[in-house]
């Protein structure tokens, strides 16, 4: 729910409660005032009657006093003054109406008379109705004004805030575009924007450092690795090394090679992430796959793998991407299909204008398939690979918005990429 809708609703609730309460208060106080007025009026009538009686020594008529209703009934003894509310039937309005009456007695020559003075009370219904109608109109106008105000506020006052929100939503840390925030004169928004800019700058720096760290670390590892490898190669040349020591040297040498491969893969990943492969050209995938299969010929033959490429006839499939990355992509996918294949297995490569599918026979995965593209996840524990091949493939696909998918069907591992 929008902030302004929310505040609008709160306003609405509070206004309704407030208006209802003030309506009640209004009603009661108004009724009290009117009732008191009537009581005073009745008392006035009483005084007038008493004055008249004193002056003329006879009973007045209703019209002489100017009162609404005045009754005189003879009484045997004086009555105590009594003010009370009562209902009397009104034939004109065909309902009982409230009246206030004051009963008192006067002494004339003819004897004691009981006087009943009556005044109609204001009808509550009418009062409530008129109060709530006027209050309702007032509340309605207020709410309408409130909504207009909200709309105006959101259009003008809150505009920089929404622009900032929009800027944040579009923000992508991987891209170098500066964060576009609004210019405003509202100090809260100025502070907000400044803090966001500061935070983003820090995040960008940290992100950059992290990316550079991998790259720099990999670079720095290259030289010591080169030294280790060179010393080992010199040792290998010595003729008087006993065989068991040679075995140890061999193990160290092989581990060094693995480390070197791992390092190169990490460096490559960092470079793809840092978008250092920006030059693009039209790469003919059909041509490239044929070239790759030629390069892999010996490995495929060595494992007795049956290869069935289904490449499109005639024209090739051209994709606009970096040539080096295209090469790495295909090397990794096809290489993977060979490495994780069984002896005498199969590889099927299908290429169309929209997708590339590489399927290979092989043992079941030892990791959940959704983790397949994560770093350092190896499908089979026996494998010598470092587990970065498919992460590199994924990274390349991501940077060109290709969709990559893994499925397992009829004991075939299927990797498909849709361009």
């Amino acid at each position: 729910m929008k902030l302004l809708t929310k505040t609008g609703l709160y306003y609405l609730c509070i206004t309704l409660i407030l208006f209802a309460a003030s309506g009640l208060l209004f009603y009661f106080s108004l009724r009290n005032i009117i009732n008191e007025n009537i009581s005073e009026n009745l008392s006035g009538t009483k005084e007038q009657v008493q004055q008249y009686v004193q002056q003329f020594n006879r009973l007045p008529t209703s019209s002489t006093i100017g009162s609404d209703v005045l009754f005189f009934t003879p009484a045997s003894q004086p009555v105590k003054d009594e003010m009370k509310d009562t209902f009397l039937y009104n034939s004109y309005e065909e309902e009982s109406l409230p009246y206030r009456q004051l009963v008192f007695s006067v002494q004339t020559n003819e004897g004691i008379s009981k006087v009943t003075a009556r005044k109609p009370l204001m009808e509550s219904d009418d009062l409530i109705e008129s109060i709530f109608t006027s209050l309702g109109i007032l509340a309605g106008t207020l709410l309408a004004m409130l909504f207009i105000l909200n709309w105006w506020l959101s259009k003008n006052l809150w505009k920089p805030f929404y622009k900032t929100l929009d800027g944040l939503r579009k923000f992508d840390i991987g891209k170098k575009e500066p964060l576009n925030l609004s210019t405003t004169s509202t100090s809260e928004f100025i502070i907000l924007n400044e803090e966001i800019q500061k935070m983003i700058k820090k995040i960008r720096n940290d992100y950059q450092n992290l990316k550079e760290f991998t790259e720099n670390a990999s670079h720095e590892i290259q030289t010591p690795l080169a030294i280790i490898r060179s010393k080992l190669e010199l040792m290998i040349q010595s003729e008087n090394i006993p065989q068991e020591q040679m075995k140890m040297i061999q193990d160290v040498y092989e581990s060094t090679n693995r480390l070197s491969k791992l390092n190169q893969s990490l460096l490559l990943l960092a470079k793809i992430e840092n978008r250092q492969f920006h030059e693009t050209q039209n790469v003919d995938f059909k041509n490239l796959i044929e070239k790759k299969l030629e390069q892999f010929e010996d490995m495929i033959a060595f494992k007795n793998i049956l290869l069935s490429p289904a490449l499109p006839k005639g024209e090739g499939v051209a994709l606009k991407m970096n040539a080096q990355l295209a090469d790495i992509l295909l090397s990794n996918i096809i290489g993977n299909a060979i490495r994780h294949n069984i002896n005498g297995g199969k590889i099927i490569i299908e290429l169309t204008n929209k997708s590339l599918t590489v399927s290979n026979s092989g043992n079941l995965l030892e990791i959940p398939s959704e983790k397949l593209f994560e770093r350092f996840q190896k499908g089979t524990s026996s494998s010598e690979s470092v587990g970065l091949g498919l992460s590199i493939v994924k990274q390349i696909c991501d940077s060109y918005n290709f969709r990559i998918n893994y499925t397992h069907e009829n004991s075939f591992h299927i990797i498909s990429i849709s361009f």
Partner: protein, 224 residues
């Protein structure tokens, strides 16, 4: 041959120096940009191995100076950065080859020999090893004067062995030299064995000796 090595890493430089001396080359080694720049302006070398990242300047500037003063000197760039840009710039400046750290000595040696051959014989060279005669530019191999037909891989393998004769060449360096990164597609390098077997057989069938010896599980040695 006279070789100049410009490399700031002491341990690596020592190894390379040691290696080339064993190969019978005269090798000079300097560790920074200024010393390297001075050397190339004062002396003549058959080949220079230049690291790009040097204290005091970029190895690429030495490549430029060398190309201007002594265009006949072969140049191999050594870099810790496996960067295509550096490679393209280096080769554009006139370097003959580019090798990335960490490298196999056999690979460096093979490239050095290839550069020296190209520079010194302008392509019309022959390599003679016992009963073998190899003409690299024609991709021809003769055993006892008789041409034998080798596949491209077998020929490259033979040339690699000859460049590194009398030395142990590891399986890894052979696989990397012939198949590049694609060699990683299998967990073992055993697939190179069939090529070695074929090469050995073809040479022996033509009357040559068995020059290729297996060394432990480590690799092979090509010697008489």
């Amino acid at each position: 041959m006279k070789i100049l090595l410009i490399e700031d890493e002491t341990a690596l430089g020592e190894s390379v120096l040691n290696f080339f001396k064993k190969e019978g080359h005269v090798c000079e080694w300097v560790k920074n940009f200024n010393a390297g720049d001075e050397k190339v302006s004062m002396y003549q070398y058959d080949c220079a191995l230049i690291d790009i990242g040097l204290p005091g300047g970029s190895g690429l500037d030495i490549v430029k100076a060398l190309k201007k003063n002594n265009p006949k000197t072969g140049i191999i760039i050594i870099s810790a950065k496996n960067s295509l840009d550096d490679k393209v710039i280096g080769l554009d400046l006139g370097a003959d080859d580019y090798i990335t750290k960490p490298f196999h000595f056999a690979e460096l040696n093979s490239r050095l020999n290839s550069v020296l051959r190209r520079r010194n014989f302008e392509g019309n060279n022959e390599i003679i090893f016992e009963k073998l005669k190899i003409i690299p530019d024609k991709q021809e191999v003769l055993v006892n004067g008789k041409i034998i037909f080798l596949t491209k891989k077998e020929f490259d393998l033979l040339l690699f062995f000859i460049s590194n004769k009398n030395r142990v060449v590891t399986k890894e360096s052979i696989a990397e030299h012939l198949w590049g990164d694609e060699a990683d597609a299998t967990d073992s390098f055993d697939f190179i064995y069939s090529h070695i077997k074929n090469l050995r057989k073809k040479i022996m069938d033509a009357g040559g000796s068995d020059y290729i010896k297996s060394i432990y599980g480590m690799g092979y040695k090509f010697s008489s």
